[in-house]
């Protein structure tokens, strides 16, 4: 886990001193609703038994709380004689920017664009932070937990 303000410094150190020469992936995660009722696996409700609520589940187990809403995991790889993998993780609030890693690993370009497009993580200093998978005029960030599944607006459906 790394302080977002020092991410670029930490990654430059890992690249130059520790030999992590490949950025394998950038995986952002939205933890909105983590551990609350109604989310994945916690189908039970606090108010009582529902026929659809399996007895073995419900609110019996609550996962450990997370520091902020978003995490961004950078998966690094050392291609060399002593191969190794490392996960660098930063924790961010909604809309909080994090430094772009394009100067450190050019491979970060599209991965960061995808993270912006899908999760709405702003990368400060990215030279071309545009949507990559969704159309340019798309609203919202589809992989956020508050973005509904099937939330695609259907044109003309409510027009007379």
């Amino acid at each position: 886990m790394v302080d977002p303000a020092r991410l670029e410094e930490a990654c430059t150190y890992l690249r130059d001193e520790k030999g992590f020469n490949v950025l394998s992936d950038i995986a952002p995660t939205d933890y909105l609703g983590w551990g609350e009722q109604g989310v994945s696996g916690y189908i039970g409700s606090a108010s009582g038994r529902d026929l659809n609520v399996p007895g073995s589940q419900g609110l019996a187990r609550v996962p450990d709380p997370k520091p902020t809403r978003f995490s961004v995991s950078y998966h690094l790889l050392r291609v060399g004689d002593d191969p190794a993998r490392l996960r660098v993780q930063v924790w961010l609030a909604d809309g909080e920017p994090v430094a772009s890693l394009v100067p450190v690993w050019p491979a970060a370009d599209w991965f960061e664009r995808e993270a912006w497009d899908m999760m709405g993580i702003p990368f400060a200093g990215h030279p071309n932070l545009l949507r990559i998978l969704m159309p340019e005029d798309w609203e919202g960030h589809p992989l956020r937990k508050d973005y509904p599944l099937g939330g695609e607006p259907v044109r003309f459906s409510d027009e007379d």
């Binding site: 394998s24 952002p28 983590w34 291609v79 599209w110 599944l149």
Partner: protein, 422 residues
């Protein structure tokens, strides 16, 4: 042999600046000279699906390029979050629809790592055999379509003929020719049929001859050599900086294969060589893939020998909280009926945690990052798609090439758009 080579394909770096994936024509040149901007794709027969390239041409020379993807985005990752673990497995093979077994295996390996479940060795070796058959299948599709795109039309028919025998083997094993969902958490969905190893051996006898034939057709053809040699250069340093993997790296001289360098399954127990070529051009990427097919046949043979030895051993873990009980027990055992019901309705739960698992898919480093909150559904699934990474190299590899070579270079990256767009 050193992992990263000391010889250089070209001096310095060719990665465009400031945006590593866009080769830009400066505005002055754009206005003064006769620069033509061409939209190449997304619906063009030679762009491997729906890749769109916006190309700036000076005569026939490519001076600017920008790859646009997303036309095949289907929201796999979002959909998987809404399904229980065992149901979401069906999505994985459809992401990269040319190397389906590899993706299915990857996702299942990630779930198994979180569960901490032991997989019987018969299942491990069967998975390896299928993964290597998938590699041959994927390279055959690549060979057929890429050769077709640069004019070697007959290759397509030969390659797809052999591909069909692999699909027959998949059908025999998993019941479906593609997307079989044969790899299960804990092992396999069913045991391999008794005749599988014999049929697969027939294929293993045929395949090396076919690869020799393909090379005989292409390697002595002046047009093929002219159109592939010295084109689409990518140095080892640039390839690593751009996050390239698999055949892309090995064609640039980097001796890197996850099966050798960071073994998973039982790859440390089989013998095979990693083909490495040094020129970093389209021709070397072709040679790497041809040699990999031969090596995969070698691995499949060793897997089949081991599978014959393990005949009759369990093919799935005996963990009733995760694995469906055998069908015949449902009529006599109430416990089994309950387990079956629980797994099918609410699904099994996976302990809280996050994990990143990587395998060497036919296209290279294929990663899967999953987060579980301890429930029956994944909290987050993220695939590291090798095609996505490979397409980042287009702007570096096509510099100063001709528009006709663009097709050869884009083909040599072996992108599968389903994989890139997910």
């Amino acid at each position: 042999m050193a992992v990263v080579p000391s010889t250089r394909i070209y001096e310095g770096t060719r990665i465009p600046h400031p945006v590593p994936t866009i080769l830009e024509v400066d505005l002055e040149k754009h206005s003064l000279e006769d620069i033509l901007t061409v939209n190449f794709g997304p619906n063009h027969p030679s762009t491997h699906g729906v890749l769109r390239l916006i190309v700036d041409l000076d005569g026939e020379t490519v001076v600017g390029i920008r790859a646009v993807i997303g036309y095949l985005h289907t929201g796999f990752e979002k959909n998987m979050e809404a399904k229980s673990w065992w149901k979401s497995i069906t999505y994985a093979p459809r992401i990269d629809y040319v190397s389906f077994h590899a993706n299915e295996l990857l996702y299942v390996l990630a779930i198994e790592k979180l569960l901490g479940i032991d997989v019987p060795r018969r299942a491990t070796w069967a998975r390896m055999a299928l993964a290597e058959l998938t590699r041959i299948h994927s390279h055959l599709v690549w060979l057929g379509t890429s050769a077709l795109e640069i004019g070697a039309i007959s290759m397509f028919w030969y390659a797809f003929d052999d591909r069909d025998s692999i699909l027959d083997l998949f059908e025999m094993a998993g019941g479906a020719r593609m997307h079989a969902r044969y790899v299960q958490v804990g092992g396999l969905a069913e045991d391999l049929p008794p005749a599988f190893t014999a049929e697969a051996r027939k294929f293993c006898d045929q395949m090396p001859k076919s690869v020799d034939e393909y090379e005989a057709i292409l390697d002595r053809q002046a047009i093929w050599l002219e159109r592939t040699k010295g084109i689409g250069l990518l140095s080892a340093e640039d390839a690593l900086a751009l996050g390239q993997s698999g055949p892309m790296l090995r064609a640039s001289g980097v001796n890197w294969d996850l099966r050798k360098n960071m073994p998973y399954l039982a790859y440390d127990e089989v013998e095979f060589d990693v083909p490495v070529y040094r020129n970093g051009d389209v021709y070397d990427r072709y040679k790497v893939r041809m040699d990999e097919m031969r090596q995969s046949v070698r691995i499949v043979r060793q897997c089949l020998d081991r599978l014959d030895e393990m005949d009759g051993e369990p093919w799935v873990a005996d963990d009733r909280k995760v694995v469906l009980p055998p069908r015949h027990e449902l009529h006599t055992s109430m416990e089994s009926l309950i387990h079956h019901f629980k797994i099918v309705t609410e699904g099994f739960t996976v302990p809280e945690g996050e994990v990143y698992v990587v395998i060497e898919s036919p296209r290279g480093e294929n990663g899967c990052y999953i987060v579980s909150d301890g429930g029956a559904r994944p909290w987050r699934v993220k695939f590291r798609a090798p095609s996505f990474a490979a397409l980042q190299a287009t702007a570096t590899a096509v510099q100063n090439c001709l528009i006709a070579d663009l097709v050869a270079v884009a083909g040599s990256l072996d992108p599968v758009m389903g994989d890139a767009d997910r």
